[in-house]
Amino acid sequence: MAAALNEKGTAVPPTLVTPPSPSSSASSSILSTVASPFTSLATRFGNWKAGFNLPNPGSVENLQREVKQTHLTNFIFDGARADLTKGLSVDPAFQVTHSFSFGAQSAPSSYHFSAVYANANLLLQGGVGDDGNLNGRLNRQWSSNNLTKVQASLTSSAQAQNMIILEHDYTGSDYSINFKAMNPSPINGTGIYIGNALQSVTKNLALGLETLYQKPTPDMDEFTTSYLLKYTGDRKDWIATAQLQPAGILQATYWQKLSDKVEVAADLQLIAAPQRREAITTLGAKYDFRMATFRAQVDSTGKVSALLEQKYGPSFAFLFAGEIDHLKNAAKVGVGVMIESSSLTPEEMGYPPQGYPPQA
C-alpha cells in the first residue's frame, strides 16, 4: 500500500512495483542528487521489467469476476420484482430505475429508487429505499492508470451500520495495486485498511498479496496477509485462481469458456481452522442464447438452482428463478420483469434507424 501511495505523486517511472529509494518526494536539487543513483536504478529496473512485455493481470477485486458472472449466486432472488429503468440520455449516460419487490421470504416488500450518471471519467450512482437507507458510489478516473472510488451506505436509524469505503486503484503495465479504507476515522485512526497488489510473473501466471489491517478500537490492531494466484490460459479461455488466507481458508476457482455461448465455473471453499473444518464446492454453467440467458448451479450443500432471463425485444425481459435446498427441504421461487423505456428516439440512442423492432 505504501507503494501505491508513492506511485501517485512521484517522478518514479510507473512501471515499478516497489520503489526502494527514498527519492519519492525528491523535488529539491540536493535531494535529487542524493537520490539519483536510486532513481536511475529504479528506471533501469523498470526498463528491464518492461522488456518482458507482460500483460496486466487485472485487479484483485476482479480476480474471480468470470466465476461470479457465471454463477447465479449474485443474481438469484425470490418473490416477485419489477425493475422499471428509464434511459434519459446516452452520452453522458443518465438513467433512473424504480424497483419494486414483494413476496420474498427473507425480506418485506420494498421500493427502491436509483439514479446513475456517467461520462467518460466520472460515475455517480445513488439508490434509496423506502426505509430511507442510501447507497452511493462515486468513481473518478483521473488518468488511464488512476481510479478513485468512494462508496457510502448510510442508514437513517442506527449509526453503527453506516459504512464509507475510500478506494484507489493504480493499474500499471503488468501489475495492479489497490488501497482501500473502510470507515476510517480521522479522530483516532480506527477502521479497516486493505492494500493489495497483483503482479504478472509470466505471460500466464500472476501472483499477488493482500494485507488487511484492522483497528476496531484505538488500542487494538491486527494484520492479516493473504496470498493470491491467478493462472490464465494461453487463449484466455480458461482462468484458475487461488486465494490462501493464513487462518486456514483456501478459495480456489476455475472458469472455462467452452464455446461462444457456454461458460462453466467451479468454486471450492475450504476452511481448515482448528475449531471449524468444512468445504463447499459450487459448480455452475451459463448459456447465452440470442434472446435469453440461462444459468444453472449445484453446490455441495445440496442446493440446486436455476435462473432464466428471457428478453422480448430490446426493452422487455422476464426473469424466472428457482432454488431447491435438498438438505433443508426448502425451496425459493422468483419471478421478475424488467422494463426499459426511453424518452429518446432510436436514432438519438445510437441505434441504426432501420431494423429496429417496433415496441409492443
Binding site: 453522458p92 443518465f94 439508490g127
Partner: protein, 51 residues
C-alpha cells in the same frame, strides 16, 4: 494527537456531512444528470415511473 474540543468538532462535522450526503446525494445526481443530459428530459419523465 487532537484535543478533546477538536475531536468533538471533527465528529460534529462528520455528522453534519453525513446528513448532507444522506439527503442530498440523489437530488445532486438528478440535478447533474438533468442539466447535462442531451437532449434535456422533461421533469415529469424523470420522476414518475409511469410517464
Amino acid at each position: 494527537m487532537w484535543s478533546d474540543e477538536n475531536k468533538e468538532r471533527i465528529s460534529k462535522a462528520i455528522d453534519v456531512g453525513r446528513t448532507i450526503v444522506h439527503y442530498g446525494w440523489i437530488p445532486f445526481i438528478i440535478y447533474v444528470g438533468y442539466t447535462r443530459s442531451n437532449p434535456q428530459p422533461s421533469l415529469i419523465k424523470l420522476i414518475s415511473p409511469l410517464a
